[in-house]
């Protein structure tokens, strides 16, 4: 069965510092991988997705993620964090026509 692990429940970074959120997945076929962001009291917004091809994918708000098949990882990165990036981030794995399986989420705090 597919699963997603986000090992960091909370991460705190200083504004302007770089960010990396970890995600490891288990999936029986070529995975479709996603990162979503949820701001307090809001729904989920899709940041970026990987289906195939280039393993480094660019998303909205300056985020990128790199798919590493050998490590079963899909880590999210941003070179310089802004205070408005404080939110909860969810990694998910799925496929066309199928449910998304979400990780537990990582809460990002940004300190000034």
């Amino acid at each position: 069965a597919q699963s997603v692990t986000q090992p960091d429940i909370h991460i705190t970074v200083s504004e302007g510092a770089s960010l990396e959120l970890r995600c490891n997945y288990s999936y029986g076929a070529t995975p479709y991988l996603f990162w979503y962001v949820q701001s307090p009291g809001q729904g989920l917004q899709l940041l970026l997705k990987y289906f195939s091809g280039d393993t480094l994918v660019q998303g909205i708000k300056g985020f990128e993620a790199e798919f590493k098949r050998s490590q079963s990882s899909f880590n999210l990165r941003k070179p310089s964090v802004h205070w408005s990036d404080a939110a909860e981030y969810f990694c998910a794995v799925g496929a066309h026509g199928n449910k998304l399986v979400f990780g537990a989420g990582t809460i990002l705090r940004v300190k000034s």
């Binding site: 899709l46 969810f90 026509g97 449910k99 998304l100 990780g103 537990a104």
Partner: protein, 117 residues
């Protein structure tokens, strides 16, 4: 991407009652999903709702508790029946875009925050 709205945005309900949540999409979509997000938790799929067929429920969720309707390609409802405090959650609908050639990306509504007292 599709624009998805949900009604109500939040509600406080008495135990033993039922609440119907509506999900409206601004374009026709084949696949709609209903998720639950319990306080401080991640999202769990309740059921998949495709137009023209019965909803498919995930393990641990049953139709009697969470009946779903999908009357057309832009609308769905989820009812939370005979509520208990354990049903207090955010309920989100999502749609998958791209039709049969889609790649699995789902877009979410803003959610319905339900509190059962």
């Amino acid at each position: 991407s599709a624009v998805i709205s949900q009604k109500p945005s939040r509600d406080i309900c008495q135990r033993g009652t039922s609440l119907t949540i509506q999900c409206q999409v601004d374009s026709q979509v084949t696949m709609m999903f209903w998720y639950r997000q319990q306080p401080g938790q991640s999202l769990t799929l309740i059921a998949t709702a495709n137009q023209g067929s019965e909803a498919t429920y995930e393990s641990g969720f049953v139709i009697d508790k969470f009946p779903i309707s999908r009357p057309n390609l832009t609308f769905s409802t989820l009812t939370v029946s005979n509520m208990s405090p354990e049903d207090s959650s955010i309920y989100l609908c999502s749609v998958e875009e791209g039709g049969t050639g889609g790649s699995g990306e789902q877009y979410f509504g803003p959610g319905t925050r339900l509190t059962v007292t």
